[in-house]
Amino acid sequence: MKPAENGLSDHLTMRGLSRRFGSFTALDAVSLSIRKGEFVCLLGPSGCGKTTLLRLIAGLDLPDAGSIALQARDITRAAPAQRDYGIVFQSYALFPNLSVADNIAYGLKPRHERQRHRLRVRELLDMVGLPGAEDKYPAQLSGGQQQRVALARALATSPGLLLLDEPLSALDARVRDRLREELKGLQQRLGVTTLMVTHDQEEALAIADRVVVMNAGRIEQIGTPAEIYRQPCSRFVAEFVGEANWLPATTSGVQEVRVGNHQLRLDAALPPAPALQLFLRPEDVIIKPRWENAPNTVLARVDNISFGGALTRIRLLPEGMPGQVLYAEVCPGMLDRQPLVPGEIVPVELPAARLLAFAGDLPC
């Protein structure tokens, strides 16, 4: 279905979905639209409702309120088989007594057309990078290979929607990184609308076109990975995604705050609260080669330096902010000065363009 045909480009639309289990609200009026061909990640801590949402879309559970539409067709209460999707679970759920070929051909119809199925299975195995594995059994495959078979099985019937429930969580870090890339490549090649659930923020940022951050049954923010990382719209998102420095501050003017005995300026607007927490990514902290009296620049003592491969991580103790620790991450090569030594005092800029302020006393 081309978007131009009916003017709708939304492949999957959820409106006001709620689901309660007893007194626990797993989903609270969640609305979300996914465009055709898009790769969307549901990201959040365990218990945030992301898996519940996926199960509602898959028809494995039914909502208490709200509606789901797939290609403009209401499927809120349709049986799973009446929807059009393929699914891959964290456990892969490969049928242990069936060969790889039989697993992949499980949903192909009609069942007696063996010859046609064999061609399709071969095509799918080539696609997921496991050629010639037809006659093996799941127990004979590694975790990564099983994951590929599960993916091939989910794609066998060419569904319009692919649902992935933590598909990479059970794998080793190295295998996971490679499969993540392949998955993204495959998804782009096939153009299949994909919804993936994950609790791994790095994975979500790396793979998704858009990330949906969820917390306590609600959507906190929807955006591209860069938006989520650069402009978190809530304190929860800022804390959940990536690492950050948190500086307690008080409002002291329009876009001006007081931290310890320093006055800092922000480009962003301040929330209407007296107590604030300033947010700054470690890589946005700038260590200057020499002191100059510029706004948002403070002196800090180098407390500790830890080597981290591409980035060096520096623990700083800013002067005038008792007890405050500030982390900076810098590329060793881009540091325009002599190597840092613990104990030395350096000028540090907290760029106004990068500082964000959130209401609240303590980091949650």
Binding site: A58, G59, L60, L62, R77, A78, A79, P80, A81, Q82, R83, Y85, G86, I87, F89, S91, A93, F95, P96, N97, L98, S99, Y106, G107, K109, Y137, P138, A139, Q140, R153, A154, A156, T157, P159, L163
Partner: protein, 568 residues
């Protein structure tokens, strides 16, 4: 609750796959109906009968008062209690010793010893009683050992019940003992605990739940067993026999119902205790536990061998004497070999036709029962929604555990023999006996199947649904093949149980459809002990034969179909 069911009813306008949900609901309620018919309604009728007089009028608790005032019944109750406690106290140490020798030694041939330990399962509870009669009865081989005493009575029953309940206790204790964590023993050794201290502080606490649960099972089995006291009880009257006398002998249904309810008490109590314990036991063995492997020890193995020999020989003697006696012309005076006792021409009880009936019953129970149980367990464990129906089905599946066969049999008499019951004509037929057997042994079979199904990935059905494959295809192509070993176990259990059981069926069989286990009682009552031994031997041989056959079949199927189980 009903809305939860209705949610799964497909809405109009969607055909084809919509039928799937409807079939699931139909299947579920059909299973519930079968279990209600074979279990729920008969049980309800016992309660009803207990508060009615002989003509069906409501009399409240009069029957209970009468039972409590009757000295014979009171004595039977106290006898039953005494018997249950004695057997439980004796069988637990024996079974524990046997299990320990099997699992904590490195003896050669432990598999064989295990089979010997479980061999009483193959025999009706009458077999040890008959063997005891041959050994210590009036013409017994070892009668002199008793110094003029008599095997008929309390201690005879105790011995017979020991044999009958031993394998049940052994199975439970073996399960508890095998769940040992080697890391605990290593920690104990490192901290300087000797073998005795390790045994007292690690082994015993580890199996305490198993011991309690085995004790409860044994106690209930003894209280409701009917065969042993009937044959070697003599004047020693117990509740189980009393219930039979009241109902079949005197046709006093209300009083039989009250006795039946009394027998239900210990079983219900056991179930409650067990449930409480099961909740606390959850964390007994964590996923990270290391399996225990005994270190080599010559002394320990020698002790274990002695234990196995002593108990094993006793078990084999109680099984073997009856078998041997059935082939002997005239015990103990003429020990020539003969097959004459297998003619059954001159004795009552139905003879070969009774045996044929039993075979038919056991086969039908095994086939229909395993199918029913597997579909039921699948519906319980794997199908979505239908919360109300599924919990009802699960409750009905667990109920038979708390219902002794004797009580179930009484319920069948009251319910199916009721003149107003449209199924009245069914009474006494083989079909009804099949239903009774399936209901009677449902819990163990259900648990075996459910455990096997639970080990399957919970997402299989979800994947199948996403691929638009109906659940019965997945049941047939995946669940059933993967659970084949459990299915064979269930079929074997149902066959052997139906072959050997007496307690429920004795109430609903009619002389036209006699059964092997029942005919043993008839023959023994008439003094034809040799024929009774012959029939008991037939039962043992059939049970053992089928078990062997199924093992072979399993191995054959395993070689052909289960290539997927081997990794790499």
């Amino acid at each position: 609750m009903l809305s939860a069911v209705l949610r799964w009813l497909p809405r109009g306008g969607q055909t084809g796959i919509a039928g799937e949900a409807r079939i699931a609901i139909l299947l579920l309620w059909a299973l519930v109906a079968v279990l209600l018919l074979g279990l729920g309604l008969p049980l309800l009728f016992i309660f009803a009968k207990a508060v009615q007089d002989g003509d069906g009028g409501f009399v409240g608790l009069v029957n209970f008062a009468q039972v409590l005032q009757s000295p014979g019944l009171l004595r039977a109750s106290s006898n039953s209690l005494q018997l249950g406690l004695t057997v439980t106290a004796l069988v637990l140490p024996l079974a524990f010793a046997f299990a320990w020798a099997l699992l904590r030694s490195r003896l050669w041939g432990r598999g064989l010893w295990r089979q010997i330990g479980l061999s009483p399962l193959l025999a009706p509870s009458l077999m040890p009683a008959i063997s005891l009669v041959y050994l210590f009865g009036n013409q017994g081989l070892l009668k002199d050992w008793l110094h003029g005493g008599n095997i008929y009575g309390f201690w005879g029953v105790v011995l017979g019940e020991l044999f009958y309940t031993f394998p049940h206790a052994l199975l439970i204790i073996m399960t508890a003992l095998s769940a040992a964590d080697a890391r605990l023993y290593e920690a104990g050794r490192v901290l300087g605990a000797g073998p005795l201290r390790q045994f007292l502080t690690i082994t015993l606490p580890g199996v305490r739940y198993g011991l309690v649960s085995a004790g409860l099972v044994v106690f209930t089995l003894v209280l409701t067993d009917f065969g042993v006291p009937k044959v070697v009880g003599g004047d020693f009257n117990v509740l189980a026999v009393e219930a039979f006398k009241q109902v079949i002998g005197q046709q006093n249904f209300p009083r039989g119902a009250v006795v039946g309810l009394l027998l239900l008490l210990p079983a219900i109590l056991s179930c409650l205790v067990e449930r409480r314990m099961a909740r606390r036991q959850q964390a007994a063995l964590t996923a990270r536990a290391q399996p225990f492997a005994p270190a080599p020890s010559w002394l320990r193995d020698a002790g274990a061998l002695l234990l196995l020999l002593a108990i094993g020989l006793l078990l084999l003697a109680l099984l073997g004497v009856g078998v041997a006696a059935s082939f002997i012309k005239y015990w103990p005076y003429n020990l020539d070999f003969t097959l004459a006792h297998y003619q059954f021409d001159t004795v009552d009880g139905g003879g070969w036709s009774a045996y044929g009936n039993s075979l038919q019953l056991a086969t039908a129970t095994a086939l229909l029962g395993s199918l029913l149980v597997f579909v039921g367990a699948y519906v319980c464990e794997k199908l979505p929604g239908m919360a109300l129906g599924r919990s009802l089905l699960r409750f009905l599946a667990m109920l038979p555990m708390a219902v002794p066969g004797l009580v179930l049999g009484l319920g069948y008499v009251f319910f199916f023999n009721h003149p107003a019951n449209p199924l009245h004509g069914w009474y006494g037929s083989l079909d009804l006996m099949v239903l009774c057997c399936i209901a009677h042994f449902y819990t163990t079979a259900h648990l075996t199947a459910a455990t096997a199904l639970k080990q399957l990935d919970g997402e299989f059905e979800a994947v199948a649904a996403s691929l638009k494959v109906p659940f019965w295809v997945t049941w047939w192509r995946v669940s059933l093949p993967v659970c084949l070993p459990a299915l064979v176990d269930v079929a074997r259990f149902l066959f052997v149980s139906a072959m050997t059981t007496l307690s429920a069926l004795i109430f609903i069989m009619t002389p036209e459809h006699s059964l092997a286990a029942v005919s043993i009682i008839t023959m023994d009552d008439a003094g034809d002990t040799a024929a009774a031994a012959a029939m008991a031997t037939l039962v043992v041989l059939s049970s053992a034969g089928l078990s062997l056959l199924l093992s072979l079949l399993e191995r054959l199927l395993g070689r052909r179909n289960q290539r997927w189980r081997k990794p790499g």
